[in-house]
């Protein structure tokens, strides 16, 4: 099937409006971005059929029946959770794993959906962890220059409160320095 040059290797995610009424969506569309932040977005004509998508980002995009999404595409559903990070979700809209799972693992954050806070955080869980690491790094660095070997309990308490870290979080942050 011929590659549709007009719609291949392009970015439509931020300006999808024209797609809804397009009459030339046909053939194979390669390497274009269509993803949306709102779930199951209907950005294509409901009557579109016979289009093959390859190497496209179709996350959160509804594809009408009669079209083909090649495995080389990303066609997943995701939503922002109470930890202020985006997670892939299942058909029942339940979080499955964070989109950037490797970042969670690097920061020793739980990737288990049951550990998502029940109320929204003020600062995202990864940002809070990174800020705490940087702040502790600064504190350690200053104490080291001053000839001390450890952070005072008062400093730790300040950082814990500032970034809403648990005792367990604090231990992990210190291990990562």
């Amino acid at each position: 099937m011929a590659i549709n040059e007009k719609y291949s290797y392009k970015s439509f995610g931020r300006n999808p409006a024209a797609l809804k009424t397009a009459i030339d969506l046909a053939g194979t569309i390669v390497g274009s971005g269509f993803s949306q932040s709102t779930l199951d977005a209907h950005i294509f004509p409901d009557t579109m059929t016979g289009v093959v998508f390859e190497k496209c980002n179709l996350d959160n995009v509804y594809i009408p029946p009669g079209n083909t999404v090649d495995p080389s595409c990303s066609h997943k559903r995701f939503a922002t959770q109470n930890d202020l990070e985006d997670w892939f979700i299942d058909g029942a809209d339940k979080p499955v794993e964070p989109i950037d799972k490797k970042m969670y693992e690097k920061l020793k954050l739980s990737t288990d959906p049951k550990d998502i806070p029940v109320t929204p955080l003020v600062v995202s869980v990864t940002r809070a962890r990174l800020l705490a690491i940087h702040q502790l790094d600064d504190v350690f660095g200053q104490l080291k220059k001053a000839g001390q070997a450890s952070v005072s309990l008062a400093d730790e308490a300040t950082i814990k409160k500032l970034y809403s870290l648990s005792d367990k979080d604090m231990v992990l942050v210190k291990e990562m320095l």
């Binding site: 392009k10 970015s11 995610g13 993803s35 490797k102 970042m103 940087h134 600064d138 200053q142």
Partner: protein, 317 residues
């Protein structure tokens, strides 16, 4: 140490050994994530590169031999400019993240995730543009998490977050344009913010956090139409000189507490409707001149008045 060539669709055997055998995006991603090594150079041709997963590499360059991704506009490796710069489209779901000692030149990035482009220690980002359109608070366009990093001649936009976020210490943000963000430029301790234009930010033009006991520099910037021009969340030690602090709505400069080590002088304050400073001693060289921008609302900050202290110091007329 290898030189590799990348185009959107690839060519020939897609080994990356030449333009005739350029990698496509899939081959580039595989090499980038699994084989990149100190000294490698990826020449990336103009075009749209659509991410279908996060583009992540945990591999490191070194201070002496970085891993380089360089946008080019033709097979003579002419450095790409403007909209000819290769465009990494993360869409709503993906971003680009690398580890230590990577250099990005002449590329564009868009996304909505926590970061659009993130680097760690020793990152250099030069002549790049990153734009994060997420409505979720505090996401970044250019996001640096490691020491000794440089963001130079770049443009950063993050609707609800940080246009350029230098979250670790000892970083430099130099000659950049950060605008239409929640916070234009965020730096931590011992950092340098110089010769930037920061325009239309809904909280801070330049925000300072981090260490309070070692010096940083905020010099020769134009900070226009933000809520607060420069804000330090604690008593950070900074030298703040020769900045244009203009038409900020709440305050020109706010320091959480005054400390003796700070030096503020030769800044030009004009039209800051809530007042010029809090916990700041302006210095004897401070001025209050109309800046004479050609069309600041349209993003043209040229035309600084020749009798302005800032202009005189810079030799601008």
């Amino acid at each position: 140490m290898a030189t590799m060539y990348v185009t959107v669709a690839g060519a020939g055997d897609k080994s990356g050994s030449s333009w005739a055998n350029a990698m496509g995006y899939a081959e580039f991603e595989t090499d980038f994530e699994g084989s990149a090594a100190a000294g490698d150079i990826y020449y990336v041709m103009s075009g749209t590169y659509t991410l279908t997963s996060n583009l992540l590499s945990s591999l490191d360059g070194t201070a002496a031999s970085m891993i380089n991704v360089i946008g080019v506009s033709d097979e003579s490796e002419t450095e790409a400019q403007g909209t000819d710069r290769p465009f990494f489209d993360g869409g709503a779901s993906y971003g680009v993240r690398v580890d230590n000692y990577w250099q990005w030149k002449n590329c564009r990035f868009e996304g909505e995730q926590t970061y659009v482009l993130r680097g760690d220690t020793g990152t250099k980002v030069i002549n790049c543009k990153a734009d994060n359109s997420s409505g979720t608070a505090d996401r970044s366009a250019i996001d640096i998490e490691g020491l000794y990093s440089l963001v130079f001649n770049c443009e950063g936009i993050s609707d609800a977050g940080y246009g350029i976020g230098m979250f670790s210490t000892q970083g430099q943000v130099y000659g950049c344009y950060a605008h239409d963000s929640k916070s234009g430029i965020h730096v931590s301790g011992r950092s340098s913010v110089s010769f930037n234009i920061v325009d239309t930010c809904t909280t801070y033009g330049v925000q300072v956090t981090g260490a309070t006991t070692e010096f940083g520099y905020i010099c020769n910037n134009t900070i226009y139409n933000c809520v607060t021009g420069i804000n330090a969340i604690a008593g950070q030690a900074y030298i703040v000189l020769n900045n244009q602090i203009v038409t900020n709505t709440t305050k020109g400069i706010v320091w959480a507490s005054a400390i003796e080590a700070n030096l503020f002088d030769y800044n030009n304050y004009n039209g800051n409707t809530g007042g010029d400073t809090t916990n700041v001693t302006k210095g004897s060289g401070a001025t209050a001149n109309a800046p004479g921008f050609t069309d600041a609302g349209g993003g043209d900050f040229s035309g600084v008045d020749s009798d302005d202290a800032f202009a005189i110091l810079l030799g601008v007329s």
